[in-house]
Subunit: 266 residues, 2 copies
Amino acid sequence: MNTRPIGIFDSGLGGLTIVKTIGRALPGENLIYFGDTMNVPYGSKSKEAVTRFSLAIAQFLQKQNVKLIVVACNTASALALPQLQKQISVPVIGVIEPGARKAFDTTRNGKIAVLATEATVRSLSYPKALTKLNKNLRITQQACPVFVPLIEEGWIHPAAGEKIIADYLRPVIKSGADTVILGCTHYPVIKQRIAKQLGKNVQLVDSAQAVAEKVKAFLIQTDQLNNRRRGCLTVYASDDPKRFKQLAKNIVGRTLPRVLLKKLMP
Amino acid sequence: MNTRPIGIFDSGLGGLTIVKTIGRALPGENLIYFGDTMNVPYGSKSKEAVTRFSLAIAQFLQKQNVKLIVVACNTASALALPQLQKQISVPVIGVIEPGARKAFDTTRNGKIAVLATEATVRSLSYPKALTKLNKNLRITQQACPVFVPLIEEGWIHPAAGEKIIADYLRPVIKSGADTVILGCTHYPVIKQRIAKQLGKNVQLVDSAQAVAEKVKAFLIQTDQLNNRRRGCLTVYASDDPKRFKQLAKNIVGRTLPRVLLKKLMP
């Protein structure tokens, strides 16, 4: 039993999809979420920049006495995870390996597509993680650079959004993949829209459930599970917490508790 | 005569539309451009954040011995100009006042619309500047939050883009404005697309020309014009200069000189 909180971070709002799933799977855990709204988006920035932002946040979370850090951002997982695991003393879990494993368990025809940010696609993190599981998988990657800004703005142009989804899915459909990884924690927000265009024969995989299971297994294994009472959620944003709270409703479907401002100097 | 360079900055690529116009109007001047790709976009961030970023850049430009700084970004002009003028010892020129004046000179029916980022709209900078010129103007503001990310990505979804432009222009057309200010230095990139949807009876005003004229007048007045030979352009980006150079082609229509990496710690 360990009542210390779990730290979870993302470039902005997207990681709240992970908070939602972890909160459901582990209702007794106290969660601290950090949304780096000062530096959003990560997906078009360099490895060095993303690593610098991620380290500053992980150090802040460590000071909050977390027992574990979840990198609820595919870009940060793809670019900064080894550096975080080296420099941070508590365990750090990323979203890519659990998502890749789930996709591998899901596919029947061995063809998997990955939708992700430019930086995640360039890093080849999903192809590497998938190939480790089975070297004969056929993997298609598709960068979707405008999804994050459109979702961060509240997906306020649905008709245009449908066209943009269609643009990105064309090569995915052509690839014949039966399993598509939502390789960015923002994308579950538009999961239904993506699923509708892909059709019923394609399975969508988002890593949130897989990550929640990995966190739970780790806490049970290390005897750190906190299930005495209902846990609480503390939310920090590095810029404009009021705006963050307003937009968060689009992601989690309900009003967040108070969002605290925490500026970091990475 | 003063051969010191002119410093110009923006959150990313947009300010290059100003560089292009100033370069044409003042071909002898040496120009230093700083694109803050580490912190782009500014338009959805707080006043405090934008002021912090802007001050760090202006201090860097000052160290490059510039004779004048042009804030080639409407959001930074709207939120940070007074602070910059207070803390920076060389003259600092913003884009809002010149743009407002040009719109005032252009309108025939006294109805002016402003397309800008969320932060610029919230600041009321254009309504204030326009009302100073004539308090009877009828002013409509429209925030266009997804234009900057779409333009920074190279406007890769033109069909969806047309729909998004139509969404934003609906209230503008309804207002009966005969003059529309492109209140963000990114928007001239899609000027033709916006003009087409507004029709021939509406005049588009972008502040680039007005700013170039203001800079020229200032340099003549203070006897600092540099017109001996062809000036050169030096470009800095705070993250991923390679990507900046690639995307810059979409803005300036030709390949930039080498783009230098300059990280600032605001």
